[in-house]
């Protein structure tokens, strides 16, 4: 009984050391299982030391040592696998052997065996796909129990003389079995706790970061301004729970939310020296209010006590502005939020850049549309005026109609600064153009349309059909000596198992030639805008059989709403 208590006392010292070690980074690899060799070497070194430590903390009984060496060997095998277990056991065993005594050989053999036993359980769990079970303290308890019984048997079998061995085993078997099993269980329990804390922090961190990233996608598509920054700052404020969040550009505060919002006003110039320094040098500045002093530069009564200033960087390293996280004087800055802040700055920088890119793209396509509008061909205008002039003489009523169509055409041309219209609206626009052309070419041009009326509400980019019809007339039917025929079809079809809307403009001239440099052409812009909006599988294709027909085919998806 006395031996048990003594051994348990030794165990306590051992466990305390383990606990202290668990506070160091040395312990982090123990919290997960991997087959990497660097990992295995670390396991081997660590558990061999525990093994040797166990031998040193032993009690001398009957010319032999009651010890907690088994914990290191079994745990080494259990966490590191049979190879590590064997190596740890062998190392611990050789060390024990070097200390002599009549059980030296028996102890060396049994410690190696114990490492292997731990390793066998490791393999069993891995094979069963239950790696998490390795971290169960009860598992460690039972396997050490078994390992210690095996050790006693080995001592009885190997140590000579047998009588002395038997006496020894009688004296130390119970204390050692109990102490080692409990010790192993405690050891595992410490690892398990460490693992839980580590994972919880990790999960909390990644969850927070992911939530922020997810809910702020596209915030800066309208630009990096007070409005978008306010939305961004409030998401960060709510998710991180810091005292206050601020976003600045290079000169002024764009958003401020949280404690002190009454005097940190968006739109006002930056006054904090830290912020200016962060902007100038592009460095992260952390003022904890103790080591590095912090005092609000606006109001001396401000409750904020510490600040983290992180520059927002452009791809080339130029500073766009800063994001600032604050904590009030009565609260400490958590390490978690400090790390998160750095990640957030990256996220925001990227979002600003993406936003800017998207904005530029939209601007580009808008300016291209304007260009198309401006390209109302002077030929068309003057020929139309000439037609009207001629028609006025013979048929004033018809002349009035033509003037109506012409004004309608110009009006909708000027109005179309919107991105999308329904097919119906686009057809109306096209019709005012066509009415004029039909009058102008009189007997030389006919139009036939097949339009699925159920598709009229489908949206397409503005100015999609117009350039195609203009081309079909200008470069198509108008070059024919004979009758020009223009067809417009709108119908639904299936493509790769999805429904797509097809709009066709067909002329009977067949003059289309693939242009050498097609960038900037009307048709090219039509195609680009559809692809931008709906994806690469949609767009415009042109086909032509010379002297027979040219067909322009547009495909767009059916989108709900």
């Amino acid at each position: 009984m006395e031996t048990i208590i003594l051994l348990l006392q030794q165990l306590c010292v051992y466990v305390v050391i383990t606990y202290l070690l668990s506070k160091t980074p040395v312990f982090i690899p123990l919290t997960f299982i991997s087959g990497r060799s660097s990992h295995r070497i670390a396991f081997y070194l660590l558990f061999s030391s525990f093994c040797i430590l166990g031998t040193y903390f032993s009690l001398s009984i009957e010319n032999a040592l009651a010890n907690t060496r088994a914990i290191g060997a079994v745990m080494g095998g259990l966490l590191g696998g049979p190879l590590v277990g064997f190596a740890v056991g062998l190392t611990g065993g050789m060390h024990r052997y070097s200390m002599g005594g009549f059980t030296d050989v028996a102890c060396a053999i049994s410690t190696t065996a114990e490492g292997l036993i731990g390793g066998l359980l490791h393999i069993y769990y891995v094979r069963k796909g239950k790696v998490d079970n390795i971290f169960k303290p009860m598992g460690a308890f039972y396997i050490t129990l078994v390992a210690e019984i095996v050790q006693m048997v080995i001592i009885l079998l190997v140590a000579k003389p047998f009588d002395q061995a038997l006496m020894l085993v009688e004296a130390i078997a119970l204390p050692m079995i109990i102490a080692n099993s409990i010790g192993a269980a405690l050891f595992m329990s410490i690892i398990q706790d460490k693992k839980t804390i580590f994972e919880r922090n990790y999960t909390a961190f990644s969850n927070k970061a992911l939530r922020i990233a997810q809910s702020t996608v596209g915030f800066f598509n309208q630009g990096f301004n007070q409005e978008s920054c306010h939305s961004m700052a409030s998401v960060i404020y709510n998710e991180t729970g810091v005292g206050a969040v601020s976003i600045t550009d290079r000169d002024k505060i764009l958003a401020f939310i949280g404690i002190g919002a009454s005097h940190h006003l968006p739109g006002t110039a930056i006054s904090s020296g830290y912020t200016m320094r962060a902007i100038e040098h592009g460095e992260i500045i952390y003022a904890d209010g103790y080591e590095t002093g912090y005092q609000c530069s606006i109001d001396s009564a401000c409750k904020l006590g510490s600040v983290l200033v992180i520059p927002l960087l452009e791809a080339d390293g130029r500073v766009l502005g800063t994001i600032k996280l604050y904590e009030p004087k009565k609260k400490l800055f958590s390490k978690l939020n400090r790390n998160l802040g750095v990640g957030l700055a990256k996220l925001i920088s990227n979002q600003i850049l993406t936003g800017r890119y998207i904005q530029q793209q939209t601007l580009l396509s808008q300016s291209e549309i304007r260009l198309l509008h401006a390209q109302v061909n002077p030929h068309f205008l003057f020929n139309t005026l000439n037609t009207i002039s001629a028609v006025t003489r013979k048929d004033p009523q018809k002349a009035r109609q033509l003037i109506q169509h012409l004004s309608q055409f110009f009006r909708s041309n000027l109005k179309q600064d919107i991105e999308q219209v329904t097919i119906k609206e686009e057809l109306t626009h096209v019709h005012s153009y066509l009415e004029i052309e039909l009058a102008r070419f009189a007997e030389r041009l006919t139009l036939s349309e097949h339009i699925d009326q159920t598709l009229l509400s489908i949206k397409i980019p503005t100015f999609t059909l117009q350039p195609l019809i203009e081309n079909a007339i200008k470069h198509g039917t108008s070059t024919l000596l004979g009758q020009g025929e223009l067809k417009i079809n709108v119908y639904l079809t299936e493509q790769h198992n999805t429904n797509v809307v097809v709009l066709e403009v067909i002329d009977n001239a067949g003059c289309y030639k693939k242009p050498v440099d097609s960038s900037g052409l009307g048709t090219q812009i039509v195609d680009k805008r559809i692809k931008n909006q709906y994806g690469e599988q949609y767009g415009l294709t042109l086909s032509c059989v010379p002297n027979k027909f040219t067909k322009a085919t547009i495909t767009v998806p059916i989108l709900s709403n």
Binding site: P378, H379, N383, N386, T387, A390, R440, A442, L480, L481
Partner: protein, 241 residues
Amino acid sequence: MLKAIIIDDELYAREELNELLVENKNVEVIAECSNAIEGLKAINSLKPDVVFLDIQMPQVTGLELLSMLDPETMPIVVFVTAYDQYAVKAFEDNALDYLLKPVDTARLNKTIKRVQLSLEKEAALPDYTPVATQQLELIPCTGFQRVLLLEPSEIEIATSEQTGVHLLTSEDKLTASLSLKVLEEKTVLIRCHRQYLINPSCIREIKFLDNGSAEIITKSNHSAPVSRRYLKLIKDRFGLA
């Protein structure tokens, strides 16, 4: 009365100009043509004093038509266009008369007056060559009950006969409304005889005859005589000393 032909592919444009010319009372519109091919035929057969010529027309433009006209029977040409910056600039640079659509009556009357004056004085025609197309891409021809446009490279031999200028291709014999002189100047065809043009890329054989002349056989077995006068030029061209 001035005899005028209107050539414009748009019905209303023709009607409008016709009305305006009728109002002028000094002009008689003897034909209205809806394309350059009809126009060419009408000019050659009706011999108008003045032609009102639209520029943008299908297949053969007004400026191409201009270059198809034989200088000897050339009428005064008044260009009519809705909008064509480059052409208008060229007309101004060369002091050629043009009208902008919709046509202004005052300007039209002034133009007519000028045409009348130059006819009365029998003044030389303005030089249209700077604005006329230099090389013809399509040659309008009439076959049996049809009009077609030949690329000059398709022509093997062009010959002028009593009945007009005939073009021989590998398969066809067609009648062109162009003079040999125009074809010689504005296409790849070269002269080999007073009444014959030959496409040099279609020659298969040149037979030299005893009297110092020769005969050309084309790839499709058409033959054309080579007069002594042109034989030397042809020999030079092909490096035959």
